[in-house]
Assembly symmetry: C2
Homo-oligomer: 212 residues x 2
Amino acid sequence: MSSRRNELTRTAARLFAEKGYHGTSIGDLAAAMGVQKGSLYAHIESKADLLWEVAREGSTAFHAALDTVPEEGPVVERIRAALRAHLRVVAEQLDVATVFVREWRYLEGERRDEFVAERRRYEERFRALFREGRELGELRTDLDDATAALLALSAANWAYTWLRPGSRPPKAGASRPGAGGLADGASSPETDDLADRFTALLLDGMRGYASR
Amino acid sequence: MSSRRNELTRTAARLFAEKGYHGTSIGDLAAAMGVQKGSLYAHIESKADLLWEVAREGSTAFHAALDTVPEEGPVVERIRAALRAHLRVVAEQLDVATVFVREWRYLEGERRDEFVAERRRYEERFRALFREGRELGELRTDLDDATAALLALSAANWAYTWLRPGSRPPKAGASRPGAGGLADGASSPETDDLADRFTALLLDGMRGYASR
DNA sequence: CCACCTTCCGAACGATCGTTAGCCTCCACA
DNA sequence: TGTGGAGGCTAACGATCGTTCGGAAGGTGG
């Protein structure tokens, strides 16, 4: 893929994340590329192609991140690794992650079906960790693993709303205006820290020792 | 407000939740109302008015739900009540909740500012519970309450993607096609159950007793 | 030197967008 | 009985939408 074409995909990811797919016109994309809108069709066949490409990049990135989680070893460590991996993708490729989580639903036809399947598979991989943890006795044997996985995935899927490339310590907030921000930044120890704090909370809970 | 006007607001909430604000045209709204699109302007001044109204309804509903949480008593019980209240709003007014969580960002100008302020206030109220719990010693005294609140709010804010009016037991999934679904249904014991399961997980964690 | 490929331009297309206008009908109420 | 407001109609507006097209500049490799 030519470098100009890739540049267009990056721009599309950024604008789709910022203003939404339907809120971004071909004209907006062209302006951001410093070009007339008709010129974009030297690179793409349709606007929908761009959404598809960015969404697929998201699928690839998140699955690849999960691939780095070992298949053996203590489940607790693997859950921590999975959460780290997920948050790292969000922090490093915030625009792509945003499209993956929020804008994918404007895909149409087979592409949408294919995306949904990949997304379900991702969640299933995540969930399997909790099920395995319960079955092996490393998590509570009475654990409702579906709910546990849902809780963990909620934190993961919501992260794009507050995680920033620079990865400052989070506020509890979730709403944040446009805030274009920098280009996708490097992951930081802070992102891993945050994932670990989530993991610790999920594992040990918030209740005081006294009332345990 | 006339009944026809209210009907329009309901339709707008439904379509905005289903296809997104920018993905819903005035023509779509008119068709859903069984009317020519020009006729809608007997009720509104602009499409943006509808988004504003639905978003404000969301603010009102979520704040009102939090108002039912007692200001005294065990923090643990209040957290449970807050989570129940939130999920109940999502289950009972799914369309409005979806706009509140996902579509609000297409608000413009002062309205957007006002909405963001209300949303921040909501999150702050939520967060205060965890801070108070730590300060009173009812939660772990070493609790990172900002992260704890973020985790709880993530579950709450993500709920609109999987909670359904009928409120079946959840899958771990998060992606779901259009799925028009029924009109907003009544809340059920199941919704409260789910909130309680989240609360239990948040409080006591997933780790096995053996490894505590 | 020529042929080709990439990239862009400028202009235009039909469609759809949100919104406005004037007119009509019907019903509640004085 | 008459008046007015609520609600809807048809038609049209200017703007913007995604997309197409023919042509031209610029560089690369044969």
